[in-house]
């Protein structure tokens, strides 16, 4: 929770991957990690990629540990780190960050203090079909 205002940029690649992942599993909660870096001027966090994680068995620890280790390994060779966490709830009107999501977010924050959490707004996702709004369908929380 920094006192200076940090900007967050989400690349199209990352955004689309996350939305497609949630659409592929409409009946369960999904989550994923956001990959990126801090820009050189130290005021923007660029989220350049995303890795979808699970669509079942979300709250269980072993898979999370292994996936975080492997992801960290893979992306550190490219100079990127884990900068955030993405979550989409099971029910269409559940717009709260559940206990599990908060815990995972806190854990990521320990390694990257400016990490952000993106929560999918299911109602806006549904509205996308009918309208062509370009507003973000996710809510960011830090």
């Amino acid at each position: 929770m920094g006192s200076n205002d940090l900007k967050y940029e989400v690349s199209q690649n990352a955004y689309i991957k996350l939305v497609l992942h949630s659409l592929k599993h409409p009946t369960s909660a999904v989550n994923g990690v956001l990959i990126g870096r801090i820009s050189s001027s130290n005021d923007t966090v660029e989220i350049t990629d995303a890795v979808p994680l699970f669509h079942s068995q979300i709250p269980l620890l072993p898979q999370l540990e292994i996936s975080l280790i492997l992801i960290e390994e893979y992306f550190s060779t490219k100079g990127l780190n884990i900068v955030g966490y993405f979550h989409a709830n099971e029910r269409s009107d559940d717009f709260e960050l559940g206990g599990v999501a908060k815990n995972i977010g806190d854990h990521i924050c320990r390694y990257f203090p400016q990490a952000a959490i993106l929560l999918l707004d299911n109602k806006k996702l549904e509205a996308l079909k009918k309208s062509k709004s370009s507003s973000a369908i996710m809510q960011g929380c830090i």
Partner: protein, 302 residues
């Protein structure tokens, strides 16, 4: 839970029907038998049969089963008018039936009229207190409304009567896990494993929960269950292999102060690591370097 052969048969039929190759009725019957959730495909192909009067008359008495299947699929896809039409047709034919009454209540549930649906289900249960499907619908309704504690209460009551329903135990375990009540989730998985000891998926899930609970004994038991999963799947389950590596390093960390020599444990870990490397070489050779560094970091930390 579907086996791999059934899953591939289902997929083949799905592709065949999607590309206009016929066989829609076989596909729908297989979906019904396996109880999988393919509501959009069921709706599409079911409606194509029902709207064609020639195909419909060929079905004979099975026509009504198809109406029921399409009605439920339509409710899942939120096509409530289709669901209503199907239910009307069934009501005309079977006006006094409990199954149709259940469909009507499900329609109310799909529309979101929770209290009316609740009343309908309660009255159906009064006439028929042992109807499993209605009990489960009540649990599902509580879950859909966000009333998780209510869902847990109903599910526990249901399991007191129908203790052998392992799907219900599994659902309860998943609900407990999502609330991070891992001890209760472990208990549910134990029930499931007792009922079906040869299904590796449950061993795996139980081991996951035990590892998440933490503590030396739990992690040691988790290792045993990962090992049994590997045994049951012939060494092909990647998650279980990873689980063994994680468990061994966790045990070594936890047992540091207790001065225990666990030679057999490290042998198990190196075997698991070798199996993982072989698997990755076959299926994803470009990810192999990440795997080796990750495994090394796990053994280093132990």
């Amino acid at each position: 839970m579907v086996t791999k052969t059934e899953e591939s048969e289902l997929k083949n039929l799905e592709i065949q029907v999607d590309n206009g190759g016929g066989g829609a009725w076989e596909y729908l019957s297989l979906v019904r038998k396996l109880k999988v959730r393919r509501s959009d495909k069921v709706l599409k192909h079911g409606l194509s049969i029902l709207n064609d009067s020639k195909l419909r008359s060929k079905l004979g008495a099975d026509e009504w089963t198809l109406y029921e299947q399409v009605a439920v699929a339509a409710m899942d896809c939120q096509c409530l008018d289709v669901a209503q039409d199907c239910t009307k047709a069934l009501r005309k034919r079977f006006s006094e039936s409990k199954r149709v009454g259940r469909l009507k209540a499900m329609l109310l549930e799909a529309k979101g009229s929770w209290e009316k649906a609740e009343k309908a289900y309660s009255s159906l249960l009064e006439d028929n207190p042992l109807d499993q499907i209605i009990h489960k619908r009540r649990v599902a309704m509580a879950k859909a409304q966000g009333n998780i504690s209510g869902a847990i209460e109903w599910l526990n009551k249901y399991l007191e009567i129908f203790m052998a329903d392992h799907d219900a135990w599994r659902e309860l375990a998943e609900i407990y896990s999502s609330l991070q009540m891992y001890k209760q989730a472990a208990f549910c998985y134990e029930e499931v494993i007792l009922a079906q000891p040869t299904v590796p998926l449950y061993h795996l899930a139980y081991a996951d929960v035990l590892y998440t609970l933490g503590g030396l004994e739990n992690v040691q038991t988790a290792k045993k269950y990962y090992a049994s999963t590997i045994d049951l799947t012939g060494g092909k389950n990647t998650r279980a292999l990873f689980g063994i590596c994680l468990c061994t390093s966790a045990i070594a960390q936890l047992a540091k102060g207790k001065n225990k020599e666990d030679k057999e444990g490290s042998q198990l870990q190196s075997l698991a690591a070798k199996a993982l490397e072989r698997d990755y070489k076959q299926r994803a050779p470009d990810k192999l370097p990440q795997l080796t560094t990750a495994l090394k970091s796990l053994t280093l930390s132990s």
